[in-house]
Amino acid sequence: MTTRYAVWRLLQVLPTCAGILLVGFLLIHAAPGDPVLALAGDGGDEAYYERVRNKFGLDQPLVVQLGTYVANVIRGDLGTSYTSGRPALDVVFERVPATLLLTATALALSTFLGLAAGIAAAARPHGARDALISATSLGLYATPVFLVGQLMMLLFALRMGWFPVQGMTTARENYTGLTHVADVAHHLVLPVIALAAQEIAAVARLTRSGLLDELGRDHVRTARAKGAGEVRVMVKHALRRAMLPVVTLVGGRVGQLVAGTIVVEAVFSWPGVGGLMVSSVQARDTPIVLALFFVIAMTVVLANLLTDLAYRWLDPRVRYG
């Protein structure tokens, strides 16, 4: 991967970010009623609304307003939550760690297990193991996140009692240090599996079909003819190329994974951004909702950027081409 490509790709991010801001801005103005309600939330008094009108220059032409809006956002000012009276971005970032823990663990687990399942299925295509893996992933791929979560909760928390039913920590206890980590990990198991299930299915399906394509190609046949063992052929020659669409998939699905996290958080009362989002929508605390949207949209853009760079780095045809 050339540095020039990396710089060029980084610069491409700028118009995308601008576009995302523009979408937010347009929605504020397209929403029914006074745009001040969308900027300040539904429950302020007249004096407060007046301040917000001044701050965003709502008596100015639309273009000037857009400039003011973008300038505010660039300064990290995404407005003030009217329910808590605090800067929206602060309120959002307080909740990010819990969500990040859940999402990142699920992303890592699903990539690993998905690849493993895909390899296991492709190693002996159309055998019993392949049929089992393929059927399971087809089913999981169609199952809404909340149903997986509810079934896991029913079986492993309520029936078996192996895992806690909800939350991120045991509220009664005040664990510190390692016991705290173990406690959080114990609470993390069911939500992560529920969240990862659909991703595992998606990665497994793609890995399997990618591997089957690659295993039929000349370079793999050559490797086999030169006496390379099956494991070496699979990992060294086929998997590397079959990984490419998987990398793209993982980057492209980050948005959906975060969406799934919101739902899983609702099922297991996980204290992340999900609860904040839902309560803010219900209270029409739009600064929070917009701040969450921007943070998540930027995360998706960043994930796509990283994916693209990883793709370049993995694919020798592009790297040296």
């Binding site: 929605l27 079934l151 909702v289």
Partner: protein, 286 residues
């Protein structure tokens, strides 16, 4: 960046693709059956439903039985009737979104692929932009600002779901553009619009069907998730909101959460199987 795995489809002249070939595959037959069950259940179901989903008909939290195949909820309302009405909501959203996606995605894809040049550049940059927008959260922002409602939901999901279709249709069009039968039509003096509608469109339909099927399946999951979070239209029954109400009783009445979820599985699985079968019969067999 694709968010659903779409196999590469090779462009080829139309007319050889038939539904019998799709239905001859097990995946196609099962998929078609599941989709049929969902469509019939959602359209006819509410009329023939044994009970009104909002009326109290039986004992509270009754187990599934002959008179209440999916049990009853805490107020004694028939869960089966609720699922049938929920399916109708899902179908309404899915159908509306599909219509928008087809119109926008096909137009953008065909225009970009056939015209190339600056129009292609502009359309493809816009497509890439819309594709990075996180649909689920865009829908939530719209709900927060415009209030919950099916119309808003269909619009926002439709206007943010078309990029994948546009990209696939564009790729197909690009590969078809230089083929002999298109050249022949051009030599005949056919207008670009005529070539696009008469020659290109029929040939991109099979792969477009696959993409639309997969997109609709995703939209169903999104609609269900929004309903589950309590962000759906409060005036209609949705499968997601039923599942969420069921969550409160999961200790004592598993059926309340299970059957609405299962209905979504049936719908999404049916669409995915059908899409797989169409891909397979197009020669992308795996």
């Amino acid at each position: 960046m694709a968010d659903v795995p779409v196999p590469e489809l090779t462009g080829r002249p139309a007319h050889h693709q038939s539904w019998t070939a799709v239905l001859a595959r097990p995946a196609g037959a099962i998929g078609a059956f599941l989709v049929l069950v969902v469509v019939v259940g959602g359209i006819i179901g509410p009329w023939v439903a044994p009970n009104d989903p909002f009326s109290v008909d039986g004992p509270s939290l009754a187990k599934p039985s002959l008179s209440f195949p999916m049990g009853t909820d805490a107020l004694g309302r028939d869960a089966f009737s609720g699922v049938l009405h929920g399916l109708r909501t899902t179908l309404f959203v899915a159908g509306g979104v599909a219509a928008i996606v087809v119109v926008v995605g096909m137009s953008v894809g065909l225009a970009a692929g056939y015209r190339a040049g600056w129009l292609d550049q502009v359309l493809m940059r816009s497509t890439e932009f819309v594709q990075v927008l996180p649909r689920f959260f865009l829908a939530i922002v719209v709900i927060a600002m415009f209030g919950p409602g099916l119309r808003q939901l269909v619009l926002v999901l439709g206007l943010s779901s078309w990029p994948l279709l546009a990209r696939v249709v564009r790729a197909e069009t690009l590969s078809l553009r230089e083929r002999e039968f298109i050249e022949a039509a051009r030599a005949d003096g056919s207008s670009p619009l005529r070539i696009i509608l008469r020659e290109l469109l029929p040939n991109v339909v099979p792969s477009a069907v696959v993409v639309v099927g997969l997109l609709v399946a995703q939209v169903m999951l999104i609609e269900a998730s929004l309903g589950f979070l309590g962000l759906g239209d409060p005036n209609v029954v949705s499968l997601g909101s039923l599942a969420s109400e069921g969550q409160d009783f999961i200790r004592v009445a598993w059926w309340l959460a299970f059957f609405p979820g299962l209905a979504i599985v049936v719908a999404v699985l049916g669409l995915n199987l059908l899409a797989d079968a169409v891909t397979g019969s197009l020669g992308g067999g795996r």
